[in-house]
Each structure stands twice: as C-alpha cells, then as structure tokens.
C-alpha cells in the first residue's frame, strides 16, 4: 500500500493499530502451535513478547513486585503446559491475560496480605513536610494514591482500558465476568480517580 492509499484508508475509518493489536498477529497463534509441540524457542519468543505487558497487568492485582514475577512465571508455565488446549475461540492475548488474571487472583488469596489494596499512603502524606505533600498531592501522587485506594479488580479494569487499550468485551472475557460488571467497575473507578486528579473536572467548568 502506498502512502496516499494509507492516508485514504485512515480517513475512511481504519484506525492505526495499538501496540496490543500489532502484536496480535497470526504469529501468536503459530507460536502457540509450536509451543504445543514443545518448541522452547517459540516459548521464549512468546515470553519475551508478553512479559512486559503481563508484568504491568499483574502488579495491579498482586501489588508485590516479588510476587509478580512468580505469578507471571506460573502463568507462562500454564501456557506451556496447556497450549495444546487453545482452540482459537478468543484471541491468544485474551487467553493468556485470562490465565494471568486467574493466577493473580489465586496468588492474592493465597498470600492473604492484610492490606493488599491499601498502600501506606495515608501515613506518608501526614509524615512528609507540608510543601512536599502539596507538590506530591498536586501531581502524580494524587493518581498513585487514588489507584491505591481502588480494589484490585477496579485497577485491573482501568489498566486494561487505558494502558492496554482493550474494549469492554475483551476485558469481560479476561476477567470472566459479565460485560455490565466491567462497565460498572470502570464507572466507579473513574468517579474515584477524577476526584483526586489535579485540575479536577469540576474546577474546569
């Protein structure tokens, strides 16, 4: 396709693909077939392709970086051992993210940490100097704090929507829940996030 045709296609409504979509080529399916036939090279390739995205996704669920690596590796081992069961009913990425989500939830329950969803931000903002607190509050840390106050499932929906660029149907598949649950979780998460984002919508109007 030459450049002009490319521009026309774009104007007619074809979207430039996100990183997520670009990586979802027939390649993923082929890799999975090779993995089912026990090809470690294909497995390594798939691992390298998915590690960054899965790591980011999982940290929303299990929070502890040390645990993320363990859960990520459990996820990839599950991919390794069940690749032959993949029937193509969903995209490969959806299938892998769904495994990661289940493993993440399992790990969270197993560790049963006292405050998995509430970092010690409350204490921090009262301990640091007022001007520092003001700076922090008015910048990035407002979002950090707000994300910390959400449940793991709400964080997962926010991250899959904004960062991974997924639609609500795919998110529902990954989290194995009704579509309406995804919409409702996103709705409540947005409510919470917007109240602490600097330059809140209410200030703009």
């Amino acid at each position: 396709m030459n450049k002009i045709e490319g521009v026309i296609v774009r104007l007619m409504g074809a979207r430039p693909k996100t990183a997520f979509e670009r990586q979802e080529a027939p390649r993923d399916t082929q890799l999975l077939e090779r993995i089912a036939a026990r090809d470690p090279k294909a497995f390594e390739q798939l691992y390298r392709q998915y590690q960054p995205r899965l790591s980011r996704f999982l940290v929303n669920i299990v929070k502890r970086p040390q645990l993320v690596e363990e859960v990520l590796n459990d996820t990839m081992m599950a991919v390794w051992s069940t690749a032959g069961n993949f029937r193509g009913a969903s995209k490969v990425s959806t299938w892998i993210f769904a495994i990661a989500y289940r493993q993440g939830v399992k790990a969270r329950m197993r560790w049963d940490e006292p405050l998995p969803d509430l970092p010690d931000n409350d204490q921090e903002s009262s301990d640091i100097a007022p001007d520092e607190a003001l700076h922090n509050r008015r910048s990035h840390s407002a979002l950090v704090e707000a994300m910390g106050s959400l449940s793991a499932d709400h964080r997962a929906v926010v991250d899959l929507t904004y960062f991974h660029g997924l639609g609500y149907r795919e998110i529902a598949e990954i989290m194995d829940c009704p579509i309406d649950t995804v919409k409702t979780r996103m709705f409540h998460a947005r409510r919470k996030l917007k109240t602490v984002i600097p330059g809140d919508a209410r200030d703009w109007l």
Partner: protein
C-alpha cells in the same frame, strides 16, 4: 447485549472511556456521539475522561509497587523531608507534573472551544463523516499513533492551531488555524515527524 430500556445518558456515560480509547463498535459509538450532541454534562465528562486517560499514561504501577516495597526497607528515614525529596520526588513525580500541566493546558484550550460550542447547542459535537464539521474547522491532522499528548499540544501551540474536534474514527483531529497563517502552519505540521498528514479541509490549496 444492550438493555434497550437503559437510560441513554447512563449508557453513554458508561461507554465514554472506550469512546476515548477508540474501542467502541460502530453501534455503540453512534449512540455515544448522538447523546454527546445533546448533553452538556457528557461533553464535560468527555473532557475529564480525556484528561484522566492522558494522566494515566504517565502512571506506572510497577514503579509504584517497587518503590513502595523499597521504601519499607528505608525505614523511618524515608519519612524525612530530605529523603522524600531526593528519593521520591525526582524519579517519579516529574513526568506526573508534566502530565498535570499538560492536562491543565489542554483543558484551557478545550474549554475555550467548548464555550463557543455551547452557544450553538445543536452543533456541539460532530464526528467527521457523520455530519458536516463546524464552520470554524479548516484543517485536519493525523498524528503518529505513538505521539504523546505533550508533543501534540506543543505542535498545536507552535502553529497557532486550535483543536475543534476529534479524534475521529481515523484518529484525525479537526483544527481551526487563523486564515492568514494556515498555509504556513500546515507546511510546518507536514515537516514534523509526529505528523502523518495535515490537510486543509475546505478545498483551498495550501
């Protein structure tokens, strides 16, 4: 899949995040756009939604989680202002600050446009291709998908362009550029690596 009895306002409001990320199917998108043309609350919500999505791009849950566990090891020292200043503020908050300023500036620009929209309620929101674009729109630009919001904003500022609408289905933004500087502005935009295309949209040669 969609409850036909659902209130169109609630339905549109719930779908806005995926409207912003371009992940709605045609039917959903049409419903949202139709509702946006008639609901000032949802127009405001859309602006807030864009600001939130932009701010979120600077957010790294991995950095936050790693920092959180490292800070535990620092013990009480982490709570002192000096430690907080050198360890916390610099690596993490600067991009956040940029995001904050970006969001605020974007809001100023968008609000200015919106105020003029609100005076003509039926023309408040139109998607390119579904209806004629508003009268003041005179250029269209498509940015590389990986272009960051702050780059986009700087380009618009540098060329004196105002955002009138978009992103459209094609990820194009509709701009208003003062007539006297439009030719030069489009030429400048075309030279930028972040710009896929920039075209006048009223048929005039640039």
């Amino acid at each position: 899949m969609n409850d036909p009895s659902a209130n169109p306002h609630d339905e549109a409001e719930e779908l806005l995040p995926w409207y912003v990320t371009g992940k709605l199917d045609a039917a959903d998108r049409e419903r949202v756009e139709k509702h946006l043309t008639e609901c000032a609350d949802c127009q405001a919500e859309l602006r807030a939604e864009r600001a939130l999505a932009a701010e979120y791009r600077d957010y790294s849950p991995e950095v936050e989680a790693s920092w959180s566990s490292l800070r535990e090891r620092l013990g009480p020292a982490a709570a002192s202002p000096v430690a907080a200043n050198s360890n916390w503020w610099h690596p993490i908050s600067r991009p956040g600050m940029a995001g904050l300023m970006a969001a605020q500036l974007a809001v100023v620009a968008v609000t200015a446009v919106t105020v003029s929209y609100l005076n003509q309620p039926t023309a408040a929101y139109r998607a390119l291709g579904s209806a004629p674009v508003v009268a003041s729109a005179n250029a269209i630009v498509i940015f590389q998908p990986q272009t960051r919001e702050d780059q986009l904003r700087r380009l618009l500022n540098d060329t004196g362009a105002e955002l009138v609408g978009g992103p459209t289905d094609a990820d194009a933004y509709v701009l208003h550029i003062p007539d006297q500087s439009r030719t030069a502005a489009i030429a400048t935009l075309r030279k930028r690596p972040e710009v896929v295309m920039a075209e006048p949209i009223d048929g005039q040669a640039s």
